[in-house]
């Protein structure tokens, strides 16, 4: 009951701040965009395209490739632009709960501080989960209806998007608890996202870096920071039926998120308000 109340409160705040509606509107635009594109193709009357959306095209391998291409584009959008938006939108939800005059009342209630922060965290993750589910399922359903191809592997993008957001949100929470600053939370988290594709070039850098200590530093950074880029690439590979090299990005990112969240909880539990 208490957890539900905390999650509902986060939702209410996300709705009031137009965060939920903003993400929802963006997802809707994306869905309408694909709907519109498909219609344009049909109206354009190109023979191949009309065939593409007719039932008889089910066995056509080009259609399958096209659908997977769209899936890949959506997944890439979610991992880049969507993730930036989600981090920007969510960064205020943690410091807002720490505002003087609000936090004193919350901590005076018969619930632990861990419970308060985890409730807020879970609510925030749920906001992004619902939005990414809406977008992915929306596009998946439109393409499924239009092409007859129902590839459930695309739905994995919901889980992976939510997962990487949960990892990044742990950073937002930690910086938020440390600094009460939404701007700083956003800056640090975005910096991690930007640095992720650079760090992913590990094998290249191992060849380029001349000294042992710089190679070790690179490897330390690579293994300890979240792998947003590689998780995105893994999703893309899964969607497009390509193989990917191991699950290291998943567990190292999960470990990073757990450490960040654990540190945030420990600091929050000891803070005076």
């Amino acid at each position: 009951m208490v957890t539900l109340a905390l999650i509902r409160d986060t939702f209410r705040e996300a709705l009031a701040r137009k965060i939920f509606w903003g993400l929802f509107a963006l997802s809707t635009l994306m869905i309408l965009f694909f709907l519109f594109l498909l219609r344009i193709d049909i109206v354009s009357g190109a023979t191949a395209t009309i065939t593409l959306f007719g039932r008889q095209t089910n066995a056509n391998p080009d259609v399958d490739r096209m659908v997977r291409g769209v899936y890949g584009a959506i997944a890439t959008f979610l991992y880049t632009f969507g993730m930036f938006l989600a981090v920007f939108a969510s960064s205020g939800l943690i410091p807002s709960v720490l505002e003087p005059g609000r936090i004193e009342l919350l901590v005076s209630k018969p619930l632990s501080r861990t419970h308060i922060l985890l409730g807020r965290y879970a609510g925030n993750v749920l906001v992004v989960f619902l939005n990414s589910a809406y977008l992915v399922i929306g596009v998946w359903a439109i393409l499924g209806v239009k092409t007859g191809i129902w590839s459930p592997v695309f739905l994995i993008a919901i889980a992976t998007t939510t997962f990487i957001f949960a990892v990044l949100l742990a950073v937002v929470v930690l910086i938020g608890v440390l600094s009460d600053s939404a701007a700083l939370s956003t800056m640090v988290t975005v910096a991690l996202m930007i640095v992720s594709p650079i760090l992913a070039q590990t094998s290249l850098m191992m060849r380029l870096l001349s000294s042992e200590w710089s190679r070790n530093l690179w490897k330390t950074l690579y293994y300890s920071l979240p792998k947003v880029y590689e998780l995105g690439k893994m999703t893309l590979d899964a969607i497009q039926s390509r193989t990917f090299a191991g699950f290291t990005p998943i567990w190292t990112s999960a470990l990073f998120g757990a450490v960040m969240l654990g540190a945030a909880l420990a600091i929050f539990a000891r803070r005076d308000f």
Partner: protein, 280 residues
């Protein structure tokens, strides 16, 4: 804060006073576990205040509260009642009752961003009361409330006092505390500078005799002809209604070689008691 120890009788309205920076809010926040003591511990009904369950019997209205403006009045009560462990069916019943209690029934579905300061204060009070606490801690409860609203809050608190709820008021509005509270303590520089019953401390025109703390039996004997006795930092203030009674008490005390610090005529309002205490 240093060695603050207060006895608050169950079912009374107790006022905690003090100048800015005296430690009033820190004391309250320590009880609520919003501030961790550097040394020592805070217990509520014998339980460590840092344990969530220890805070269940407490209703709290913070000073300078900032309730999220996306709530409606009813929505806010629902949220805080849920956090206090009130189940959904009881909340459904209690929310209209408490909005009615603080005169906000008509505003139940209005966003609290549109509420006045006084309305927010009354809603905050309803929030503190909704889970039927046995101790109510109110930080500046009538701050920003108009005279009619203040009277309403006093009446509400009086009603809860009758039901045996202990009410702890933290305020700098001395006239308000004088009207509302049965007992007070004055904090000064992190220590309890004075504590006593309101009627004793504000005994009215008379004479105040300040002496070094006498033996208990003698203090009781002198207390018999005084209107009040207040203990602070090793000194005792006796209040006498007449000069004759004050002189009689002085004779008794001097006979036992008690040190007399001062004898002064008084016209005690709480404000005067307060000023005297913090200026010493």
């Amino acid at each position: 804060m240093d060695g603050v120890s207060l006895q608050v009788r169950r079912g009374t309205i107790f006022g905690l006073l003090g100048p800015n920076g005296a430690g009033k809010t820190t004391f309250v926040k320590t009880l609520l576990s919003a501030v961790r003591p550097t040394r020592g511990s805070a217990l509520i009904f014998g339980r460590d205040a840092s344990q969530p369950e220890a805070r269940r019997p407490i209703g709290y209205l913070p000073e300078n509260h900032r309730f999220p403006t996306y709530f409606t009045g009813a929505g806010m009560l629902d949220f805080y009642a849920a956090l206090s462990g009130v189940d959904a069916s009881r909340r459904k019943k209690l929310i209209p009752e408490h909005l009615e209690l603080v005169g906000l029934s008509q505003w139940a579905d209005v966003r609290i961003g549109k509420y006045s300061k006084g309305m927010l204060q009354r809603l905050g009070l309803a929030q503190a009361l909704i889970h039927s606490p046995t101790i109510l801690i109110l930080d500046e409860p009538t701050d920003g409330v108009d005279p009619v609203g203040r009277r309403q809050i006093r009446e509400i608190l009086g009603g809860f006092e009758q039901r045996g709820v202990t009410i702890f008021v933290n305020s700098h509005l001395l006239a308000e505390v004088e009207t509302l509270c049965r007992e007070v303590a004055i904090l000064h520089k992190g220590k309890v500078a004075l504590t006593g019953k309101m009627q004793d401390l504000t005994a009215g025109k008379g004479y105040r005799l300040t002496v070094a703390k006498p033996p208990e039996a003698l203090a009781e004997k002198v207390r018999g002809c005084a209107t009040s006795m207040a203990v602070r930092d090793g000194w005792v203030d006796f209040q006498f209604p007449s000069r004759e009674l004050a002189n009689g008490a002085m004779d008794l005390l001097r006979a036992e070689r008690c040190e007399i610090e001062a004898l002064a005529p008084t016209t005690s309002t709480l404000e005067e008691v307060f000023v005297r205490t913090v200026e010493k």
